[in-house]
């Protein structure tokens, strides 16, 4: 991957993080921690992987993206706004009355949302249904879905995992955002998931690793997956940091579902803008 491309992706990720913080600060509620942990992955998917067109968000043959961990909608809204699915100013209406941007994704209110999600475990089953439909109709589209690590404590996830394998849904790619934290504490202290990779493997899936904050790692993983001719569904366990990109939020459980206050907001935006400036300077050197 070219350094220039990596730099551009990093800049976009910074902008997504700013969008997350702007939205959640404006709403004075929302889930910053898990939104920040998937920001880079969304940037990579929406820039390099998904076959989608902001002008045709309902195109039948488009790739689908299902955010099964629906509470991290602020990250999805930010990337969709930055990719012109709707106006960036909408981000400031997040969670407010009559907004397009609901607390959790609503496929009927927001352009670019392929399934309404929010109740954990459910988006993954819907992703299986969309993948199955593609197989039945001979469509070439792929279905990508991000699940939280805490989310896979839901039994429905494993019902879906069995179903996807049984029906050879090789057009389904699940990304498990392994940041190790859930609302009540560390995942391993609340209800240990054990070996996630082994679990998916034993359910018949092709399983890969990925660093959720390293675009080269993503590129390597996705190149391997997309060149791999398997008849099995694919799971990627991405190691991530909850709250990534904002020093005082990183790996802190309590940032799961609270909004920053004014001074925290100023600090967070300052950190992200500083990072953005740094990346811009680097880009100039690369050009």
């Amino acid at each position: 991957m070219e350094k220039k491309i990596i730099n551009q992706l990093k800049m976009l990720a910074c902008k997504v993080r700013i969008g997350i913080i702007e939205g959640i600060y404006s709403a004075q509620s929302g889930h910053p921690g898990g939104s920040l942990s998937i920001a880079d992955t969304l940037v990579y998917l929406y820039s390099n992987i998904l076959n989608i067109d902001a002008n045709k968000p309902d195109a039948f043959d488009r790739d689908r993206f299902i955010l099964s961990k629906g509470h991290t909608a602020p990250a999805l809204y930010a990337i969709l706004a930055l990719k012109d699915f709707f106006n960036y100013s909408e981000l400031f209406t997040l969670r407010k009355i009559n907004s397009k941007l609901q607390g959790h994704p609503d496929m009927n209110k927001t352009p670019g949302i392929d399934m309404s999600t929010g109740s954990l475990g459910q988006g993954f089953s819907a992703a299986c249904g969309i993948a199955l439909s593609g197989k039945i109709s001979g469509q070439k589209y792929k279905v990508y879905s991000i699940l939280g690590d805490g989310e896979i404590q839901e039994g429905q996830v494993w019902e879906a995992a069995m179903f996807a394998n049984h029906n050879n849904l090789n057009n389904l790619i699940a990304i498990i955002d392994y940041n190790g934290l859930q609302i009540d504490g560390k995942v391993k202290d609340i209800c240990d998931l054990g070996d996630i990779k082994l679990k998916f493997k034993s359910f018949g899936w092709s399983v890969y690793d990925m660093d959720a904050h390293n675009f080269e790692s993503m590129e390597n993983t996705f190149q391997t997956i997309l060149n791999n001719n398997t008849n099995k569904p694919t799971a990627i366990v991405q190691t991530s940091v909850k709250g990534k990109g904002i020093s005082f939020m990183e790996d802190i459980c309590s940032w799961h579902g609270i909004a920053p206050n004014k001074s925290q907001y100023i600090d967070a935006i300052h950190q992200l803008e500083h990072e953005l400036d740094k990346l811009e300077e680097e880009l100039l050197c690369l050009c």
Binding site: F60, S119, G129, S133, I136, E159
Partner: protein, 321 residues
């Protein structure tokens, strides 16, 4: 009436799916390891490539149904009422009804007439659960003819529909030229003394009761409500205005079902007494269907007694005799 041909509404459902499968290439049928009981097996045999058995995993089945529907498929998802309306409630609410998707949930083995399997399988709360969800249409057909027509009509509305089906063979009481319309009740017997409003399996029992009542000079109006939601307000308000009292009859809890839906309309528009015959907030037990129906007061004899007593109690001109 003893000459009437009997058929379980789940059999009518299976036959309908096969017919509709020929007409609509986009119909996909899902089941959760009960295809032989829900009769989706008929569709499986006719269209094996459009049938998916999801195994004993109803929540995932309902989510898969939602996903399929987002791509334009017409999805029928089946299991027993207990396991879809009960276990699957939240998936139906959040993944199917909230996005308002074109999924038909056909739930068999509803009510007490499941019989020998006992309380764990006798779902008497499904109408209550399903009708409280926005965007949901709730249908409860009484016979083969009504079931087949409503399955077909349910495809025409491209939103979520819950279809309640029974295990038990039930008499075919409607005429073959009967024209079912979602949201429209049917007057089976004109009468102005008192009104019986029945749904599903209880329509036939009420018809027998109505005959018994006419023999003692009570002319009951009998209304068949196949659509619990949206409920036919007009037919209920007319009954409230024109007769002394309404008796509702359902193979369902008296909390939240037909009786509640009728009461809501009556209370707001034209208050008259509404007496509810149904399962009185208790769990069922094992037994044959007919024993259980009798035990819980869902027999024609009990309907006759309740209507007769109510008639004398609330008779409009009683005080003037």
């Amino acid at each position: 009436m003893s000459m009437l041909v009997k058929k379980a509404t789940r059999d009518s459902y299976g036959e309908s799916l096969v017919e509709l499968g020929k007409e609509y290439n986009d119909i996909i049928v899902l089941d959760a390891d009960l295809a032989k009981a829900t009769k989706t097996i008929m569709f499986k045999e006719a269209f094996p490539n459009r049938f998916f058995d999801c195994g004993i995993a109803e929540c995932n089945m309902l989510g898969v149904a939602a996903g399929l529907a987002t791509t334009g498929k017409i999805v029928f998802a089946s299991s027993f009422a207990m396991f879809v309306a009960g276990r699957g409630y939240e998936i139906i609410r959040n993944s199917i009804c909230y996005p308002n998707l074109n999924v038909k949930i056909a739930a068999s083995h509803a009510g007490i007439s499941v019989g020998e399997d006992g309380a764990t399988h006798q779902c008497c709360e499904d109408i209550s659960l399903m009708r409280s969800i926005p965007n949901m249409t709730v249908l409860n057909p009484c016979d083969d003819i009504e079931t087949k027509q409503l399955i077909k009509k349910s495809i025409e509305i491209k939103t979520p529909v819950y279809i309640r089906l029974g295990r038990l063979a039930t008499p075919i009481l409607n005429n073959p030229d009967y024209n079912f319309q979602i949201g429209k009740g049917v007057i089976l017997s004109e009468g102005n003394d008192i009104t019986i409003i029945a749904t599903g399996l209880m329509v036939y029992e009420s018809l027998i009761a109505e005959n018994m009542l006419s023999k003692i000079g009570i002319n009951a109006r009998l209304i068949n409500i196949h659509t619990i939601k949206p409920i036919d307000q007009k037919i209920i308000i007319s009954a409230a205005k024109e007769t002394s009292c309404i008796i509702t009859v359902e193979e369902h809890s008296v909390i939240g079902g037909l009786g509640s839906a009728v009461s809501e309309v009556v209370c707001e528009n034209s208050p008259v007494p509404v007496i509810k015959i149904g399962i009185n907030d208790i769990f069922g037990m094992s037994g044959t269907a007919s024993e259980l129906l009798k035990h819980y007061g869902l027999s024609s004899e009990n309907i006759f007694e309740v209507v007769k007593d109510s008639y004398y109690k609330y008779k409009k001109d009683l005080y003037f005799i």
